[in-house]
Symmetry: D2
Subunit: 99 residues, 4 copies
Amino acid sequence: MKVIVDLCVVPMGVGISVGKYVAECQKVLQEAGLKHQLHAYGTNIEGDWDEVFAAVKRCHERVHEMGAPRITTSIKVGTRTDREQSMQDKIDSVTKMET
Amino acid sequence: MKVIVDLCVVPMGVGISVGKYVAECQKVLQEAGLKHQLHAYGTNIEGDWDEVFAAVKRCHERVHEMGAPRITTSIKVGTRTDREQSMQDKIDSVTKMET
Amino acid sequence: MKVIVDLCVVPMGVGISVGKYVAECQKVLQEAGLKHQLHAYGTNIEGDWDEVFAAVKRCHERVHEMGAPRITTSIKVGTRTDREQSMQDKIDSVTKMET
Amino acid sequence: MKVIVDLCVVPMGVGISVGKYVAECQKVLQEAGLKHQLHAYGTNIEGDWDEVFAAVKRCHERVHEMGAPRITTSIKVGTRTDREQSMQDKIDSVTKMET
């Protein structure tokens, strides 16, 4: 099952700046070979369900290893059976309406 | 890794009433033997990471099988390494402050 | 416009225990006279759009005043024009399917 | 109070393709003069709290007017009192760690 995910990992108990933890998650996604795109409030990820969620788990493990005692993460998960759709397709489906 | 999750599955393309799809997800959680509690905008779930996310995947599969061509799901995921915490502990940590 | 909201306020930069900040938000909702119900990963709120979002803003103001330098909040917002629906109605629409 | 928001509006009961509704929300943000950036699973918005949330409300009103009887929206809301931060700053705080 193909999935498009939006992931936002929030480490708690490590102070106010969390950029390095988010950067580490980008590295996890990179290592997993998953197509992903950072934005100002999360990261879009596209791939096979099991691979994507294995990477999400690894993000939690890695951020805990870096010293964060607590993590709260928001995930949006989209699946569809009617047709294939990429992250770019989703953006295009909106922008083509705006013309 | 122990996790507390809040799950909100939204089937699309099946009309306006989605109660039966959410009820099916409750059944999936029941079958998985996971502690869970329905609220007005989702379901709290507590358990082992892999078991919880296997159940979330089964929810998507089941809701597609029921005829929903598209699903968008919101998940909140909490993990911590400093101590064990149950769903009830989380509620208690707030209510004990209110006295 | 009537709205049902699920609110989860996460103060950052204040350590690992955030119960007192969430309790303060409960007080804000109480003061606003809004129907609300705490669960393990947020609070369901029901009311008029403007009143609910005024309360959400006051939560951010109050939590900053308590010393949190940064807040990240997740909100789910449901509106419908086909019929009135309360938080309890939403729960009932699921549980009546489970029998 | 300055805010950075991530907005994902999901119209229900209008079938499977929702691009035109999301495009209409982009127009609302445009008309409001708010800085915003569409991504594959939502839209980042930056601005004054009241202006941003007035626009979010207008999105719901507009999407209902277009015929959607039900809407479920996910919003992430970030505020901070320690310093000013733009959407671009948030992205930079991650990417500068990756080098």
